[in-house]
């Protein structure tokens, strides 16, 4: 029996060398995500550092004062309070709409409907996720604006509610898909056991599935929040872009038809006008740093929550 002829030494050498090079490339690419996250932080921090380390920067003013007046330069004040409130309020409105709808859709998709409807719904949700944020902004600006003014009696059509609805539709897909994954991760034996004991499908959902999938659902909501906080173009175009605090001490505590202004939209709107390296420019990068930090915390929490599930399983 002839043994396989060994390829001559030279070509083996080349093959091995080529493999080593490719594997080194694979390792470098593997680390690239770390490098990028780190350099995003580093470069934004670098640009913002003039503002961050300046003796004139009063942090309590930055966080708790509403006066964001980059012009005139001599008497500029940078208080981000309104924008932080704006981001919080629009995220809140969006989540109040998107969370019940998202979880409901996820339950429907994973538990209640036939495979055919399920496929269709999933494709619709996927297409929903594909619509670019600038198109959402356009819809808010043209269609929602009109509807809110003419049918809801809003003074201005571009407002908190407009942005909230658009953001809700935008964060719906991610909430549905993560929540559906969470339901899918619940072992079928749980459902079968509950149904064997005489529970209806609805009872299975709220007595078995919700408790069993609660971590995954929490992660779904967190990622939805992250999406809403970070969204830029849509909120820039349909929230009215006005420094304002929509919360009030009187009922209903939130004026949903007030125009607002968010962190992301402020950066997008003003970055073009701020001269490179100016105090205004640095203050905008400081806003970016704040956004980065918020998103980092949200993602970290979501990751820990998801990891919690995995550890419980194993």
């Amino acid at each position: 029996m002839p043994l396989i002829p060994k390829t001559d030494g030279g070509s083996i050498h080349w093959t091995l060398l080529r493999e080593k090079i490719i594997e080194i490339l694979i390792y470098i690419s593997g680390f690239s995500a770390i490098i990028f996250v780190f350099s995003i932080f580093a470069f934004i921090f670098k640009e913002a550092s003039g503002f961050v380390f300046s003796h004139e920067t009063d942090w309590s003013f930055f966080f708790f004062n509403a006066a964001w007046q980059p012009l005139p330069e001599e008497s500029a004040t940078y208080g981000a309070f309104s924008m932080i409130i704006g981001t919080i309020s629009v995220t809140l409105v969006a989540m109040l709409i998107a969370v019940p709808f998202g979880l409901g859709l996820a339950v429907l998709v994973s538990e209640f409907c036939s495979p055919k409807i399920k496929e269709t719904l999933k494709i619709v949700i996927e297409l929903l996720a594909a619509i670019p944020s600038v198109v959402w902004g356009f819809v808010g600006l043209k269609l929602m604006n009109y509807v809110l003014v003419n049918f809801f009696g809003a003074q201005v059509g571009s407002n908190l509610f407009n942005g909230g609805i658009v953001l809700a539709l935008m964060s719906l897909p991610i909430i549905v898909s993560i929540a559906e994954d969470a339901f899918k991760a619940v072992p079928d034996s749980y459902r079968e056991a509950a149904e064997a004991l005489g529970a209806t499908k609805w009872q299975v959902v709220y007595k078995v599935l919700f408790p069993a999938a609660k971590n995954g659902l929490l992660a779904a909501v967190l990622l939805g929040v992250g999406r809403a906080v970070g969204e830029t173009m849509a909120v820039l175009m349909c929230t009215g872009h006005n420094l304002n605090n929509p919360f009030s001490s009187e009922f209903p505590f939130l004026n949903i038809f007030d125009p607002i202004r968010t962190l992301t939209a402020s950066i997008a709107a003003e970055l073009g006008e701020a001269p490179r390296g100016s105090e205004h420019w640095q203050a905008l990068f400081a806003l970016g740093l704040l956004l980065f930090a918020i998103i980092f915390v949200i993602n970290l929490t979501a990751d820990l929550v998801v990891r919690g599930i995995k550890q419980e399983e194993s």
């Binding site: 493999e19 594997e23 490339l25 694979i26 690419s29 593997g30 690239s32 995500a33 770390i34 990028f36 996250v37 350099s39 995003i40 470069f43 670098k46 019940p100 709808f101 409901g104 859709l105 429907l108 209640f112 719904l121 494709i123 619709v124 297409l127 929903l128 594909a130 619509i131 670019p132 944020s133 600038v134 198109v135 356009f138 819809v139 600006l141 043209k142 269609l143 539709l169 209806t200 499908k201 609805w202 009872q203 959902v205 992250g226 906080v229 970070g230 969204e231 830029t232 173009m233 950066i267 997008a268 970055l271 073009g272 970016g288 956004l291 998103i295 949200i298 993602n299 979501a302 990751d303």
Partner: protein, 288 residues
């Protein structure tokens, strides 16, 4: 048959109610979607013509077409994918085939998740602070690099999913036959996850085409008479164009605004639909 007790009747009622509520929710979520599409097409269809997509804008964008914007978007997306795809695919290969189950892998995974969550405007800040700076001003390449970093984590995630779908037993069989790790990846793992990787990347084409914030300050501009000569030129882009015509200057006719919106939305949805049908097609001829 069994007699239905009042309790069972109550339970069945509950179930029907729950089902109905969920169905209504689904319909409520889908109706606005359909309304939006119909509304956009109704308003924008008068503008749609071959001239609209093949001509330059005229008279301060109040007339003519949007050809340079379409071409600019094409350049940016193509360039960004050329940059992001190899890195993304190799990174996914690292995570799925090489990385051990240790703290370092956890950090890499966490970095991917975080990179995916970074807001688009923060990517814009990063692009402005790095690429635009190194290239002495905004340009196509800077915008594409910014887009590439943005699409990278999603390419990693979708590729990783495709690699995970290849059964472990194939790899073990290959190793037992004396194939090295990379040989196994090249001859078995990658060819068998190719369809999944491809559909993931096509999906990214549509995502990148719709992005506005990251290119706004790094390479896209409102209006330019000529097409870009090189990757160091600035260019118009479709998403940026939509933002501009929708918000700046009220004298731009509505049909141009809606026409631009439809072209962008149509483009994105067609690419998406292509990705979905490709996925269905590949699934139907699975090899194992």
């Amino acid at each position: 048959m069994f007699q239905e007790t009042p309790l069972i009747q109550k339970k069945n009622r509950q179930q029907t109610i729950a089902r109905t509520i969920f169905m209504i929710m689904a319909v409520l979520a889908i109706i606005p979607l359909i309304t939006i599409f119909i509304y956009l097409f109704y308003k924008g269809s008068p503008a749609l013509s071959w001239e609209f997509v093949s001509e330059f804008p005229r008279r301060r964008m109040t007339e003519g077409g949007i050809f340079p914007a379409i071409l600019g978007t094409f350049y940016m997306v193509a360039l960004s994918l050329i940059i992001a795809t190899p890195i993304g695919v190799l990174a996914a290969v690292y995570l799925n085939e090489y990385a051990g189950n240790n703290w370092f892998t956890r950090i890499v995974n966490l970095a991917v998740v975080n990179l995916a969550g970074v807001p688009s405007i923060v990517h814009a800040l990063f692009g402005l602070g790095t690429f635009v700076m190194f290239m002495n001003g905004p340009c196509l390449l800077a915008a594409s690099l910014t887009l590439a970093i943005m699409t990278l984590p999603v390419i990693i995630a979708s590729t990783k999913q495709a690699l995970e779908a290849v059964p472990m037993s194939f790899r073990e069989a290959s190793w037992n036959l004396g194939a090295s790790k990379w040989q196994t990846i090249r001859t078995l793992v990658l060819p068998n996850s190719f369809s999944g990787i491809l559909t993931g990347i096509i999906l990214q084409v549509s995502r990148a085409a719709g992005e506005t914030a990251p290119i706004m300050f790094t390479g896209a501009l409102y209006f330019r008479k000529q097409l870009p000569d090189s990757i160091f030129d600035q260019s118009m882009a479709l998403s940026m164009h939509l933002y501009t015509v929708a918000t700046q200057g009220s004298q731009i006719p509505e049909k141009i605004q809606f026409g631009t919106a439809i072209v962008l939305l149509g483009l994105v949805l067609i690419i998406n639909a292509a990705s979905i049908s490709l996925r269905v097609y590949f699934r139907s001829r699975k090899k194992w």
